[in-house]
Symmetry: C2
Subunit: 484 residues, 2 copies
């Protein structure tokens, strides 16, 4: 309803209101069938007596502009002949190829989805039961007492200063030299990666990565219209000789993307020697590396693996993207990009142009949680919890699944290869039996990986791991028998 | 530090550890001057006795690989000749034109910034003292009790369902017909606008808007490489005949962007008749409209202005973007896009590709705050507060500023035109005197507006409004005198 009427003293209010409403109806601003506000609402709105409004409504009814249905209200009825105003468009033809590509690559929309009651190996989200809600509440109240309304108002594109300082220390402890480097806080890894690609690449540029690799990264590389060159994996990380060959023989790549510390989907950890080899190669060709710090924290080995960014010492050629999303509170969407100061200066402007900044409330609560020392306690608890599941998974895989190869050194998932199957056929059968997992082909940069699949363990009970693996194993055995 | 060493039983542990560290040094993984972990740390890490480590360190020292400084630690010293590993790049040449444009258009980086102690009219952020922190805490604890860990884990790209449902009701009450429409939650207006432009436009497309208009919108239109056609404003909104001329005479525009309800920077409210005229015109030409619902809530008039999206009834040609950022908690970054169902389906995939979803914690707290009825109370309080300031501002402007024209029907700011000045010259002088405001030219789509400026009132005390306006007025008078 439009009521922009300013009453004056030149004529009776009743007349002014009546004429105003008539004009709205004649102009089609009020449409046939539309309900007028009640006389009470209207009298409050216009600050005139209710009697005046009752008189107006009666008069409108009499002259055929409205009709009153007892107990229901007053409806516009006098403009049958007006053309329909609605501006209607055929959106399919207006949506551009970028949005259509985003939709086509959106696995949430196109892959089989888990349903209630199913055994779901399709997720690697953390198990929410590990979150300490009481601690989180305490941290929230603490930080709100400390910061007050500040964190509810606009903040800075780069991020919440105390969190940035905390992360500098955290990242410094990983051995990354922060001289001439800086940090940008983003809405998770995904945004960090998108902003970096947006700021460095252009359509048609070549990007080198592991094959298979993180499917969200593949989606974003494709959305940025990059030419993806996937390099095969070995047990200790990327195949260095294939990488070298690629660098030597093809036109210069713009960028590389690697997940050395806990590779998704295989769970492989790149060996120290290979990290060094990778760095030397990219140093020779002067190509920047994006290092995805994915789940570094959840590795089970006692050893600390140095990020490639740390091996690069004071060099500025590695962009490190971190996030605790797969460990802590993914619902909060917090990640960070560590890179050369100059690059961050530009990324900051891109971030500001896109959404001003990441929620300051989230950053502040997150900071308080980290500061209170809860993170280490949590990681310890989570590691223990996920380790048990991982070991169980290996045990049941050995018992039930006739695999060719199992990849992974622990964490939230295992990756399995079974020669002779197409994992999508297996998934189809398993789905009918109430089990779902992720077909491996979505992680491949080429058409490969159809004989692989990823089993996410984080949210599945021990019993369900056993039952689910048996169902998957039996389905595969059936399939292999039939295809002999 | 890298320690990926797996000890075996084939040789003494001391030897294995020593050889491993030597190799790290020889390979340059450990660099000259780098500190080794303390013997205590190392023994914990490798799960061997501390004595073994002391033996290893002694041996390394003896063979010249390290040197031990008493009380400080053990440092690598044996690889002087190794080449420097750091992969260093000249980022300036690697950053693309998009990121450079984002930086160039980043007013935070290029406009004069307010300093502590200054009278700052350069902000239209809400006054944080209006936020009810206790209420906010209560809402947070309530929703956390209700939702538990759910809201800390991954959510859905479209948004938090209860918030979406709440907003549907809220938007429905504005008269917007939601049949065949849907809602996407974004990180504020800015992200919503960016996602819509990303999904509909391509480089070189024409977009029509008011002139002047919201500077962040101008930035995004430029970043998307759109051809911006600004249509002049009249006292009751856009100049319809100029708009018609533009539509008639130039090649078809792809899109339009309007702020009808509380125009930024002028504060003008588009009249109902013009809303209808705009809609009819765009219906004729079949061009979609993006309607920015900016600050609809803070208007002072008793009347409810119908959004253009509501006038469009069941039509799908209007994309309405809303946000409470200038009213409530901008630090939380929550906005929403209301549009045709099919369009939202694609926007959802774009949103997911960029940052998975907006913080579920924020959405849930925000929802709880709205649901508890606090929003209406707050808006009432805020309106009263800002109205007082607005009226004071008009009074002092009349007293002190020799303006040609004042725009605005209340809200968080006024917009002033003074013929014969360049507001940047005035700003320069005022800045020296401790007063800052926003030069008007940043809101213009052409080279105009140099004789205008915006005065944000929301965070300035009454006394500072008086003092600041006097300084601005005196500076302008001086300037006009001198230039006669």
């Amino acid at each position: 309803m439009i009521f922009d009427l300013k009453l004056n003293n030149d004529s009776p209010k009743k007349i002014q209101i009546e004429n105003y409403i008539k004009k709205l109806i004649e102009d089609g601003i009020l449409q046939n069938g539309e309900k007028l506000p009640s006389t009470r609402e209207m009298s409050l709105m216009l600050k005139v007596s209710r009697n005046t409004i009752i008189n107006v409504y009666d008069s409108l009814s009499e002259s055929g502009f409205t009709s009153t249905m007892q107990g229901t209200g007053t409806f516009v009825s006098g403009n049958e002949s007006l053309p329909y105003l609605g501006n209607s468009l055929a959106w399919t033809s207006l949506i551009n190829s970028y949005a259509k590509k985003a939709e086509a690559l959106d696995i949430v929309k196109h892959e089989a989805r888990s349903k209630r009651g199913m055994i779901s190996f399709d997720s690697i989200s953390p198990n929410k039961n590990l979150f300490d809600l009481d601690e989180f509440k305490r941290d929230f109240l603490n930080i709100l007492s400390l910061e007050g309304n500040n964190i509810l108002n606009y903040g800075y594109a780069k991020g919440y200063k105390p969190l940035i300082d905390y992360l500098k220390k955290y990242i410094g402890d990983k051995g990354i030299d922060l001289n001439n480097k800086d940090i940008l806080i983003t809405n998770g890894f995904t945004e960090g990666f998108d902003i970096v690609l947006s700021s460095i690449t252009k359509s048609g540029d070549k990007i080198i990565c592991e094959n298979p690799t993180h499917n969200t990264a593949i989606k974003l590389m494709k959305l940025h219209d990059l030419k993806i060159l996937g390099i095969p994996m070995e047990n200790d990380g990327i195949d260095i000789s294939k990488l070298e060959e690629e660098l030597k023989n093809s036109e210069q790549a713009k960028l590389a993307y690697f997940i050395p510390s806990y590779h998704n989907p295989t769970g492989i950890v790149m060996s120290p020697q290979k990290r060094l080899d990778v760095l030397k190669l990219f140093n020779t060709y002067k190509i920047p590396i994006i290092e995805d710090g994915f789940n570094e924290e959840l590795r089970y080995s006692n050893s600390n693996i140095t990020p490639i960014a740390a091996l690069n010492h004071s060099g500025n050629g590695v962009i490190y993207i971190g996030s605790f999303s797969k460990i802590l509170f993914p619902g909060l969407r917090i990640g960070w990009v560590v890179a050369d100061k100059e690059l961050i200066y530009y990324l900051e402007s891109v971030k500001r142009s896109r959404n001003i900044h990441t929620s300051f409330l989230d950053q502040a609560v997150f900071y308080e949680y980290l500061k209170a020392g809860n993170f280490n306690k949590y990681v310890k608890r989570a590691k223990k919890y996920y380790k048990e599941k991982y070991e169980l998974a290996i045990k049941y895989a050995n018992m039930y699944i006739p695999y060719t190869k199992i990849y992974g050194e622990g964490g939230l998932h295992i990756f399995i290869q079974v020669n002779g199957i197409n994992s999508r056929d297996i998934l189809k059968e398993c789905y009918k039996k109430g089990v779902i997992f992720t077909p491996g082909d979505i992680f491949y940069t080429d058409e490969k990986g159809s004989n692989t699949f990823r089993l996410g363990l984080s949210r599945v009970s021990k019993k369900d791991i056993k039952d689910g693996f048996k169902i998957i194993g039996d389905t595969i055995k059936d399939f292999l028998m039939r295809s002999v």
